[in-house]
C-alpha cells in the first residue's frame, strides 16, 4: 500500500505530482458533485464560450448523485465513473480541476488527460454512502437543480473525506492493467 496524504483547499501542481497509484488521500475543503448531466451541461456552456457559475480551478470533482433531504446530506457515495469517460478529458482541459473522485476506474482518454493537465483520479469505496456523508460538514451551495437532485452540482464542505484510493496518477500510471476505451 502507498502513502496517506491530506489535501486541503485548492490543489496545486506540486501536490498532484507527489500522488502515486496506491496512495490514499483524505480531502478537506470544497468538493463539487458532477455526474452525467452536469458534465454535459458544463461542456455545452464552456464550448459556447460561456463561464460556469462555480470555479473548478484547482478543485475536486466528485462523481456522485447525493441523497439530500432539505438541507441535510443523508448519503453520498460515488457513482460509476466510466459513464463520464466521453467528457472527462475535455472537462479537465476546460475547467482546470485537479482531482476527480469516483469509483470503478476510467479509460485511456482520461488517463492521458490527467497527464496532460496534471490531475489525479482517485476512488472512494463504492456503496459507502453513509460513511461519506459523515465527513460532509455542510452544503455550501447547489447549482443546476433543474437537472433533478441526483444530477445537480452540490458544493460540499468536507473534512477528512476518504479513504480515496489513487488509481490513476498524473504520471500515466493506473492501478488496473486493462484500460477500456
Amino acid at each position: 500500500m502507498g502513502k496517506a496524504y491530506s489535501l486541503r483547499g485548492k490543489i496545486g501542481d506540486q501536490e498532484v505530482s507527489k500522488l502515486q497509484v496506491g496512495d490514499i488521500i483524505y480531502i478537506t475543503g470544497e468538493i463539487f458533485t458532477m455526474r452525467d448531466q452536469a458534465h454535459l451541461k458544463a461542456l455545452e456552456i464552456l464550448r459556447g464560450g460561456g463561464r460556469l457559475p462555480f470555479d473548478l480551478r484547482g478543485g475536486v470533482i466528485y462523481h456522485c448523485g447525493p441523497l439530500v433531504k432539505g438541507s441535510r446530506l443523508v448519503s453520498a457515495g460515488p457513482t460509476t465513473s466510466m459513464r463520464m469517460e466521453r467528457s472527462e478529458g475535455e472537462i479537465l482541459a476546460r475547467t482546470g480541476a485537479k482531482c476527480i473522485i469516483g469509483k470503478g476506474g476510467m479509460g485511456s482518454g482520461t488517463l492521458s488527460a490527467l497527464s496532460e493537465h496534471h490531475a489525479v483520479y482517485a476512488e472512494y469505496p463504492g456503496g459507502a454512502g453513509a460513511l461519506a456523508a459523515r465527513s460532509v460538514v455542510g452544503i455550501k451551495g447547489v447549482y443546476w437543480r433543474e437537472l433533478g437532485d441526483p444530477e445537480a452540482v452540490w458544493v460540499l464542505e468536507v473534512e477528512g473525506f476518504g479513504p480515496c484510493f489513487v488509481t490513476m496518477d498524473c504520471h500515466g500510471r493506473t492501478l488496473r492493467e486493462t484500460l477500456k476505451k
Binding site: 490514499i24 448531466q37 456503496g127 459507502a128 453513509a130 479513504p163 488496473r176
Partner: protein
Amino acid sequence: MRAEDIAEAIRLMETDLPPDVEAALARCRDEEEGISREVLGAMLENVRIAREGGVPICQDTGSLVFFVSAKGCCSEICRIIMEGVAMATEAVPLRANIVDPFSRKNTGNNLGRGNPIIHIDPRPEGGLRIGILAKGAGSENVSAATMLDPDQSVGGIKEFVLQTVRKAGAKPCPPIIVGVGVGGSLDAAALLSKRALMRRLDEPTEDALSSHLEGDLLREINSLRIGPMGFGGKNTALAVRLEAADCHTASLPVAVSIQCWALRRVFLEAEGDRVLIRR
C-alpha cells in the same frame, strides 16, 4: 397490509444489510490484504454507521422491485405498494431515482410509468408475501441477457456469465452477488436472474445440477481476481445464485443480474391482521 408496513420494510432494507450478506463481506475482509482489505473495511464501517444512524447504506437507494405472491387479484396491493414507496421516499428518505427515459426528467417520488416494478406471482392458497429488492444502477447497468443455441449447453452458460462479470470489472462495486436465470424466455430469464438475488446466500440449493453450477461459477469468477472494488484479490463475488425454468426446444435463454455488495432485500408476510418483516 398497509402502506406504512411497506414503507417500514423499505426503511429496514435501505438502512441495514441482511445478516447473511454482512457475514459474507466480513469473511472477505479477513481474506484480503492491502487496499482491497482497506476498502472492505470501509464498506463494513459504512454498514455499521448506516444501521446505527438509520440512514441509507448507499445514496443510490435503487429502483424498487417488488415480488408479490398472493391469492386472487392484486390491484389493491399494487396501490398500497405505490403509496408505501411515495411514503418511504419522504420518510427514510430515498433518493428520487426515476426519470423519463427520453427527456430524463425526474418524477420526484420514485413513482412513474411502470415504476416501481411489481412482479406478481399468483398462487392458489396462502397469505400475501412481498419481497422487496433495492437495485442500484451501477450493477444493473452491467447486467445482461442472451439467447444461446441449445447445443451451447452448460459450457455456453458458464462462458456468458464469466464474460458478463469480466466485462463489468470494477463498475458494479464488487464483491458482487451474481443472479443467473436459465430458461423460460428472454423476459422470463431476466426475471429469474432477479428472483435468484432474493435467495439467502447461505441457503443450500436443492437442485443438484444448479448447486454444482453455482459452485463452479463462483470459483471461476473469483479466479478472475477482479477483487473488492476492482483493486484485485480473492473475492470478486460473494455468491452465485441460479434459478431455472423450462424453455422452448429451440432456445436456451440466459440472463445475468449483477448485484453490488450492498444487497438490500427484505420480505413482508401477512398473517391474519399481523404483518411480519423478515430479512
